[in-house]
Amino acid sequence: MKHRCAANWKTLPENDSDGYHLGFVHLALFKTVRMQYQRVVGDEKAIKAVVRDWGHGHIEIDWSPGYQGPFEWFGGAAGPVVADFVAALERRDGPELARQRILQGPAHALIFPNLFLGETNIAIVEPVDVEECVHWHTPMFWKGVPEFNGRLLRMAEAGMGPASFLMPEDLIIATRNQQGLRARTPEWLLLSRGLDREYLDDQGRAVSHVTDETTNRALWRHYRAVMTEA
Protein backbone atom coordinates (compact mmCIF):
# COMPACT_ATOMS: atom_id res chain seq x y z
CA MET A 1 0.00 0.00 0.00
CA LYS A 2 1.23 3.49 -0.80
CA HIS A 3 0.61 6.64 1.22
CA ARG A 4 1.44 10.05 -0.22
CA CYS A 5 2.89 12.78 1.98
CA ALA A 6 3.51 16.46 1.17
CA ALA A 7 6.73 16.64 3.16
CA ASN A 8 10.39 15.88 2.61
CA TRP A 9 11.12 12.14 2.71
CA LYS A 10 13.51 12.43 5.67
CA THR A 11 10.70 13.42 8.01
CA LEU A 12 9.15 9.95 7.81
CA PRO A 13 12.15 7.77 8.77
CA GLU A 14 12.68 10.14 11.69
CA ASN A 15 9.02 9.87 12.65
CA ASP A 16 8.95 6.08 12.34
CA SER A 17 11.62 5.74 15.05
CA ASP A 18 10.60 8.61 17.30
CA GLY A 19 8.99 7.87 20.64
CA TYR A 20 8.38 11.45 21.73
CA HIS A 21 5.58 12.32 19.30
CA LEU A 22 3.29 9.42 20.14
CA GLY A 23 1.56 10.91 23.15
CA PHE A 24 0.68 14.09 21.27
CA VAL A 25 0.23 13.07 17.64
CA HIS A 26 -1.75 9.90 18.40
CA LEU A 27 -3.79 11.22 21.30
CA ALA A 28 -7.07 10.54 19.46
CA LEU A 29 -6.25 6.83 19.32
CA PHE A 30 -5.06 6.60 22.93
CA LYS A 31 -8.26 8.31 24.08
CA THR A 32 -10.31 5.77 22.12
CA VAL A 33 -8.75 2.31 22.39
CA ARG A 34 -6.24 0.49 24.55
CA MET A 35 -3.09 -0.57 22.70
CA GLN A 36 0.54 -1.20 23.44
CA TYR A 37 1.65 2.33 22.54
CA GLN A 38 -0.65 3.68 25.21
CA ARG A 39 2.07 3.20 27.76
CA VAL A 40 3.89 6.24 26.35
CA VAL A 41 1.17 8.66 27.43
CA GLY A 42 1.21 7.79 31.12
CA ASP A 43 3.55 8.87 33.89
CA GLU A 44 6.95 9.28 32.27
CA LYS A 45 8.74 7.50 35.10
CA ALA A 46 6.53 4.42 34.66
CA ILE A 47 7.46 4.03 30.98
CA LYS A 48 10.03 1.28 30.49
CA ALA A 49 10.42 1.26 26.69
CA VAL A 50 13.71 2.61 25.36
CA VAL A 51 15.24 4.03 22.19
CA ARG A 52 18.56 2.73 20.94
CA ASP A 53 21.22 4.01 18.52
CA TRP A 54 22.80 1.09 16.66
CA GLY A 55 25.25 3.32 14.79
CA HIS A 56 25.45 4.22 11.09
CA GLY A 57 22.01 5.85 11.31
CA HIS A 58 20.25 2.62 12.30
CA ILE A 59 17.88 3.36 15.18
CA GLU A 60 15.30 1.51 17.21
CA ILE A 61 12.39 1.85 19.57
CA ASP A 62 12.44 -1.16 21.89
CA TRP A 63 9.02 -1.62 23.50
CA SER A 64 9.87 -4.96 25.05
CA PRO A 65 11.09 -3.75 28.49
CA GLY A 66 7.51 -2.56 29.05
CA TYR A 67 5.79 -5.77 27.96
CA GLN A 68 4.39 -7.86 30.78
CA GLY A 69 3.20 -10.90 28.85
CA PRO A 70 3.51 -12.73 25.53
CA PHE A 71 2.10 -11.27 22.29
CA GLU A 72 1.36 -7.77 23.64
CA TRP A 73 2.79 -6.58 20.30
CA PHE A 74 0.30 -8.90 18.54
CA GLY A 75 -2.88 -7.58 20.12
CA GLY A 76 -2.64 -10.15 22.92
CA ALA A 77 -3.35 -13.01 20.49
CA ALA A 78 -4.37 -16.23 22.23
CA GLY A 79 -6.22 -19.48 21.54
CA PRO A 80 -5.48 -22.88 19.98
CA VAL A 81 -3.82 -21.58 16.78
CA VAL A 82 -1.48 -19.43 18.88
CA ALA A 83 -0.71 -22.38 21.17
CA ASP A 84 0.22 -24.53 18.15
CA PHE A 85 2.42 -21.72 16.86
CA VAL A 86 4.23 -21.40 20.20
CA ALA A 87 4.74 -25.18 20.35
CA ALA A 88 6.22 -25.16 16.85
CA LEU A 89 8.53 -22.26 17.76
CA GLU A 90 9.70 -24.14 20.87
CA ARG A 91 10.47 -27.22 18.78
CA ARG A 92 12.48 -25.14 16.33
CA ASP A 93 14.26 -22.68 18.62
CA GLY A 94 14.13 -24.26 22.07
CA PRO A 95 11.96 -22.93 24.92
CA GLU A 96 14.22 -20.05 25.95
CA LEU A 97 14.55 -18.40 22.53
CA ALA A 98 10.88 -19.08 21.71
CA ARG A 99 9.83 -17.36 24.94
CA GLN A 100 12.02 -14.40 24.09
CA ARG A 101 10.51 -14.12 20.61
CA ILE A 102 6.90 -14.17 21.74
CA LEU A 103 7.59 -11.73 24.57
CA GLN A 104 9.68 -9.18 22.65
CA GLY A 105 8.05 -9.34 19.23
CA PRO A 106 9.57 -8.17 15.94
CA ALA A 107 11.72 -5.05 15.68
CA HIS A 108 10.50 -1.45 15.57
CA ALA A 109 13.55 -0.04 13.84
CA LEU A 110 14.89 2.04 10.99
CA ILE A 111 17.59 0.59 8.73
CA PHE A 112 19.27 3.76 7.43
CA PRO A 113 18.21 5.53 5.35
CA ASN A 114 14.67 4.46 4.48
CA LEU A 115 13.78 0.87 5.39
CA PHE A 116 11.41 0.73 8.34
CA LEU A 117 10.78 -2.50 10.24
CA GLY A 118 7.39 -1.68 11.76
CA GLU A 119 6.90 -4.67 14.03
CA THR A 120 4.48 -6.77 11.95
CA ASN A 121 4.87 -4.44 8.94
CA ILE A 122 7.68 -3.54 6.57
CA ALA A 123 7.86 -0.07 5.02
CA ILE A 124 10.07 2.03 2.80
CA VAL A 125 10.05 5.76 2.12
CA GLU A 126 10.34 6.85 -1.49
CA PRO A 127 11.52 10.43 -2.15
CA VAL A 128 9.48 12.03 -4.97
CA ASP A 129 10.26 15.74 -4.73
CA VAL A 130 11.69 18.15 -2.16
CA GLU A 131 8.29 18.34 -0.49
CA GLU A 132 6.75 15.05 -1.53
CA CYS A 133 7.34 11.42 -0.67
CA VAL A 134 5.50 8.10 -0.56
CA HIS A 135 5.41 5.74 2.41
CA TRP A 136 5.09 2.17 1.06
CA HIS A 137 4.20 -0.60 3.43
CA THR A 138 3.09 -4.19 3.60
CA PRO A 139 2.14 -6.51 6.42
CA MET A 140 4.43 -9.48 7.04
CA PHE A 141 2.93 -12.91 6.55
CA TRP A 142 4.67 -15.62 8.56
CA LYS A 143 5.71 -18.82 6.90
CA GLY A 144 3.68 -21.81 8.06
CA VAL A 145 0.89 -19.91 9.86
CA PRO A 146 -1.58 -18.66 7.22
CA GLU A 147 -4.14 -18.55 10.05
CA PHE A 148 -2.47 -15.34 11.22
CA ASN A 149 -2.79 -13.57 7.86
CA GLY A 150 -6.21 -12.10 8.62
CA ARG A 151 -5.04 -10.66 11.94
CA LEU A 152 -1.84 -9.31 10.36
CA LEU A 153 -3.88 -7.63 7.62
CA ARG A 154 -6.27 -6.04 10.10
CA MET A 155 -3.35 -4.81 12.25
CA ALA A 156 -1.68 -3.28 9.18
CA GLU A 157 -4.92 -1.55 8.18
CA ALA A 158 -5.36 -0.19 11.70
CA GLY A 159 -1.85 1.21 11.93
CA MET A 160 -0.52 2.05 8.49
CA GLY A 161 -1.95 3.64 5.37
CA PRO A 162 -4.04 6.65 4.36
CA ALA A 163 -7.21 5.51 6.16
CA SER A 164 -5.53 3.94 9.20
CA PHE A 165 -5.70 5.11 12.80
CA LEU A 166 -2.01 6.11 13.10
CA MET A 167 -0.23 7.20 9.93
CA PRO A 168 -2.61 9.95 8.71
CA GLU A 169 -1.73 11.90 11.86
CA ASP A 170 2.02 11.38 11.33
CA LEU A 171 1.82 12.54 7.73
CA ILE A 172 -0.30 15.61 8.37
CA ILE A 173 2.02 16.72 11.18
CA ALA A 174 5.00 16.10 8.88
CA THR A 175 3.30 18.32 6.30
CA ARG A 176 2.70 21.05 8.89
CA ASN A 177 6.33 20.80 10.00
CA GLN A 178 7.41 21.14 6.40
CA GLN A 179 5.43 24.37 6.18
CA GLY A 180 7.11 25.49 9.38
CA LEU A 181 10.56 24.91 7.91
CA ARG A 182 9.85 27.62 5.35
CA ALA A 183 10.07 30.16 8.16
CA ARG A 184 13.91 29.94 7.84
CA THR A 185 14.46 31.54 11.23
CA PRO A 186 15.57 30.36 13.66
CA GLU A 187 18.07 28.35 11.62
CA TRP A 188 18.23 25.50 14.07
CA LEU A 189 16.01 22.98 15.83
CA LEU A 190 16.74 21.78 19.34
CA LEU A 191 17.07 17.98 19.63
CA SER A 192 18.54 17.79 23.11
CA ARG A 193 15.89 15.80 24.93
CA GLY A 194 17.49 13.06 27.02
CA LEU A 195 21.10 14.20 26.62
CA ASP A 196 21.36 14.22 30.39
CA ARG A 197 20.24 10.63 30.84
CA GLU A 198 21.21 8.61 27.74
CA TYR A 199 23.92 6.04 28.41
CA LEU A 200 26.07 3.53 26.54
CA ASP A 201 25.14 -0.11 27.00
CA ASP A 202 27.67 -2.96 27.18
CA GLN A 203 27.82 -3.06 23.37
CA GLY A 204 28.53 0.65 23.08
CA ARG A 205 25.07 1.61 21.83
CA ALA A 206 23.43 4.78 23.14
CA VAL A 207 20.20 3.93 24.96
CA SER A 208 17.67 6.23 26.56
CA HIS A 209 14.07 6.68 27.65
CA VAL A 210 11.63 6.12 24.75
CA THR A 211 10.62 9.79 24.68
CA ASP A 212 14.23 10.97 24.31
CA GLU A 213 15.71 12.28 21.07
CA THR A 214 18.60 9.81 21.00
CA THR A 215 17.26 8.31 17.75
CA ASN A 216 16.68 11.71 16.12
CA ARG A 217 20.23 12.81 16.92
CA ALA A 218 21.64 9.51 15.62
CA LEU A 219 19.73 9.79 12.34
CA TRP A 220 20.69 13.39 11.57
CA ARG A 221 24.30 12.98 12.72
CA HIS A 222 24.73 10.09 10.31
CA TYR A 223 22.90 11.86 7.50
CA ARG A 224 25.23 14.84 7.86
CA ALA A 225 28.24 12.54 7.90
CA VAL A 226 27.35 10.68 4.70
CA MET A 227 26.24 13.81 2.86
CA THR A 228 29.28 15.90 3.72
CA GLU A 229 31.97 13.25 4.30
CA ALA A 230 32.53 15.20 7.48
Binding site: L27, A158, T175
Partner: protein
Protein backbone atom coordinates in the same frame (compact mmCIF):
# COMPACT_ATOMS: atom_id res chain seq x y z
CA UNK B 1 -33.87 -3.80 -11.39
CA UNK B 2 -36.40 -3.11 -8.67
CA UNK B 3 -39.74 -1.30 -8.54
CA UNK B 4 -39.97 2.50 -8.57
CA UNK B 5 -40.66 2.75 -4.85
CA UNK B 6 -37.59 0.72 -3.84
CA UNK B 7 -35.47 2.51 -6.41
CA UNK B 8 -36.53 5.91 -5.09
CA UNK B 9 -35.92 4.87 -1.47
CA UNK B 10 -32.44 3.66 -2.34
CA UNK B 11 -31.57 6.85 -4.23
CA UNK B 12 -32.77 9.00 -1.33
CA UNK B 13 -30.67 6.93 1.06
CA UNK B 14 -27.54 7.38 -1.08
CA UNK B 15 -28.05 11.14 -1.26
CA UNK B 16 -28.57 11.40 2.49
CA UNK B 17 -25.58 9.20 3.26
CA UNK B 18 -23.41 11.30 0.95
CA UNK B 19 -24.53 14.56 2.54
CA UNK B 20 -23.89 13.36 6.10
CA UNK B 21 -20.41 12.12 5.11
CA UNK B 22 -19.63 15.35 3.24
CA UNK B 23 -20.64 17.45 6.23
CA UNK B 24 -18.69 15.35 8.77
CA UNK B 25 -21.88 14.60 10.71
CA UNK B 26 -20.32 11.54 12.27
CA UNK B 27 -23.02 10.40 14.71
CA UNK B 28 -25.82 10.78 12.17
CA UNK B 29 -23.77 8.92 9.55
CA UNK B 30 -23.08 6.06 11.99
CA UNK B 31 -26.82 5.83 12.66
CA UNK B 32 -27.34 4.87 9.00
CA UNK B 33 -25.70 1.48 9.65
CA UNK B 34 -27.22 -1.80 10.77
CA UNK B 35 -25.69 -3.60 13.76
CA UNK B 36 -23.75 -5.78 11.34
CA UNK B 37 -21.50 -3.58 9.29
CA UNK B 38 -18.83 -3.96 6.62
CA UNK B 39 -17.20 -0.70 5.54
CA UNK B 40 -14.70 -1.68 2.87
CA UNK B 41 -12.30 0.28 0.68
CA UNK B 42 -10.00 -2.19 -1.13
CA UNK B 43 -6.42 -1.18 -1.94
CA UNK B 44 -6.92 -2.78 -5.34
CA UNK B 45 -9.21 -2.34 -8.31
CA UNK B 46 -9.38 -6.12 -8.78
CA UNK B 47 -13.08 -6.98 -8.28
CA UNK B 48 -12.09 -10.38 -6.88
CA UNK B 49 -9.64 -9.01 -4.28
CA UNK B 50 -10.30 -11.04 -1.12
CA UNK B 51 -10.01 -8.90 2.05
CA UNK B 52 -8.83 -11.98 3.98
CA UNK B 53 -5.72 -12.29 1.83
CA UNK B 54 -5.24 -8.83 0.30
CA UNK B 55 -4.73 -5.55 2.10
CA UNK B 56 -7.47 -2.92 2.11
CA UNK B 57 -7.43 0.77 2.88
CA UNK B 58 -10.44 0.16 5.11
CA UNK B 59 -12.02 -3.13 6.12
CA UNK B 60 -14.07 -2.22 9.18
CA UNK B 61 -16.48 -4.42 11.07
CA UNK B 62 -18.97 -2.73 13.39
CA UNK B 63 -16.48 -2.42 16.28
CA UNK B 64 -13.76 -0.87 14.16
CA UNK B 65 -16.25 1.41 12.44
CA UNK B 66 -17.29 2.73 15.86
CA UNK B 67 -13.62 3.27 16.73
CA UNK B 68 -13.16 5.18 13.48
CA UNK B 69 -16.04 7.48 14.39
CA UNK B 70 -14.89 7.94 18.00
CA UNK B 71 -11.42 8.98 16.79
CA UNK B 72 -12.97 11.68 14.63
CA UNK B 73 -15.08 12.83 17.57
CA UNK B 74 -12.13 13.28 19.97
CA UNK B 75 -11.05 16.52 18.33
CA UNK B 76 -7.49 15.10 18.16
CA UNK B 77 -7.70 13.25 14.84
CA UNK B 78 -5.38 15.90 13.40
CA UNK B 79 -5.62 14.56 9.85
CA UNK B 80 -9.27 15.68 9.98
CA UNK B 81 -8.90 18.60 12.34
CA UNK B 82 -10.42 20.74 11.01
CA UNK B 83 -12.55 18.47 8.83
CA UNK B 84 -11.96 18.61 5.07
CA UNK B 85 -14.54 20.56 3.11
CA UNK B 86 -16.25 18.10 0.80
CA UNK B 87 -19.01 17.66 -1.75
CA UNK B 88 -19.66 14.58 -3.81
CA UNK B 89 -21.83 13.92 -6.82
CA UNK B 90 -23.53 10.54 -7.19
CA UNK B 91 -24.70 9.18 -10.51
CA UNK B 92 -25.23 6.04 -12.63
CA UNK B 93 -27.31 4.48 -9.86
CA UNK B 94 -28.47 0.91 -10.37
CA UNK B 95 -30.55 -0.90 -7.76
CA UNK B 96 -31.18 -4.65 -7.77
CA UNK B 97 -32.58 -7.18 -5.31
CA UNK B 98 -29.96 -8.86 -3.15
CA UNK B 99 -29.96 -11.68 -0.64
CA UNK B 100 -32.27 -11.73 2.42
CA UNK B 101 -34.54 -9.07 0.97
CA UNK B 102 -31.78 -6.49 0.83
CA UNK B 103 -31.41 -3.94 -1.92
CA UNK B 104 -28.03 -3.69 -3.64
CA UNK B 105 -27.28 -0.22 -4.99
CA UNK B 106 -24.35 0.50 -7.27
CA UNK B 107 -23.35 4.10 -7.97
CA UNK B 108 -20.50 6.19 -9.35
CA UNK B 109 -19.19 9.17 -7.43
CA UNK B 110 -16.88 12.13 -7.78
CA UNK B 111 -15.82 13.63 -4.48
CA UNK B 112 -14.04 16.96 -4.24
CA UNK B 113 -12.13 17.27 -0.97
CA UNK B 114 -10.47 20.49 0.11
CA UNK B 115 -7.88 19.22 2.57
CA UNK B 116 -7.21 22.14 4.92
CA UNK B 117 -5.26 20.51 7.75
CA UNK B 118 -1.82 21.70 6.64
CA UNK B 119 -2.27 23.71 3.47
CA UNK B 120 -5.33 24.02 1.25
CA UNK B 121 -5.08 21.17 -1.27
CA UNK B 122 -7.86 19.99 -3.55
CA UNK B 123 -8.08 16.20 -3.79
CA UNK B 124 -10.36 14.39 -6.23
CA UNK B 125 -11.70 10.97 -5.30
CA UNK B 126 -13.49 8.99 -7.99
CA UNK B 127 -14.89 5.50 -7.93
CA UNK B 128 -17.86 3.19 -7.69
CA UNK B 129 -19.71 2.43 -4.49
CA UNK B 130 -21.84 -0.59 -3.61
CA UNK B 131 -24.36 -0.31 -0.82
CA UNK B 132 -26.28 -3.23 0.74
CA UNK B 133 -29.49 -1.75 2.11
CA UNK B 134 -31.77 -3.46 4.60
CA UNK B 135 -35.37 -2.49 5.19
CA UNK B 136 -35.96 -1.61 8.82
CA UNK B 137 -38.76 0.21 10.57
CA UNK B 138 -38.85 3.72 9.21
CA UNK B 139 -36.68 3.19 6.15
CA UNK B 140 -33.37 1.74 5.01
CA UNK B 141 -30.09 1.07 6.80
CA UNK B 142 -26.82 0.00 5.21
CA UNK B 143 -25.07 -3.24 6.16
CA UNK B 144 -22.24 -2.89 3.66
CA UNK B 145 -20.57 -0.03 1.87
CA UNK B 146 -17.78 -0.92 -0.53
CA UNK B 147 -15.90 1.86 -2.30
CA UNK B 148 -13.60 0.96 -5.18
CA UNK B 149 -11.47 3.97 -6.09
CA UNK B 150 -10.14 4.12 -9.63
CA UNK B 151 -6.72 4.87 -8.11
CA UNK B 152 -7.05 2.41 -5.20
CA UNK B 153 -3.61 0.93 -5.86
CA UNK B 154 -1.83 4.26 -6.36
CA UNK B 155 -0.24 6.42 -3.66
CA UNK B 156 -3.13 8.13 -1.88
CA UNK B 157 -3.14 11.15 0.42
CA UNK B 158 -4.87 10.93 3.79
CA UNK B 159 -8.25 9.20 3.63
CA UNK B 160 -9.35 9.66 7.23
CA UNK B 161 -12.64 11.39 6.35
CA UNK B 162 -15.77 9.36 5.59
CA UNK B 163 -15.65 8.22 1.99
Amino acid sequence: MVGDQDHQAAVEFLYREARLADEARYAEWLALWTEEAVYWVPASTDPDADPETRISHIYDNRARLETRIKLLQTGHRYSQEPASLMRRLISNIEVVDGRDGQLVAGSNFILAELSIQAKAEMHWWVGRATHHLRRVEGGLRMSLKKVVLINAAEPLPNLSFLI
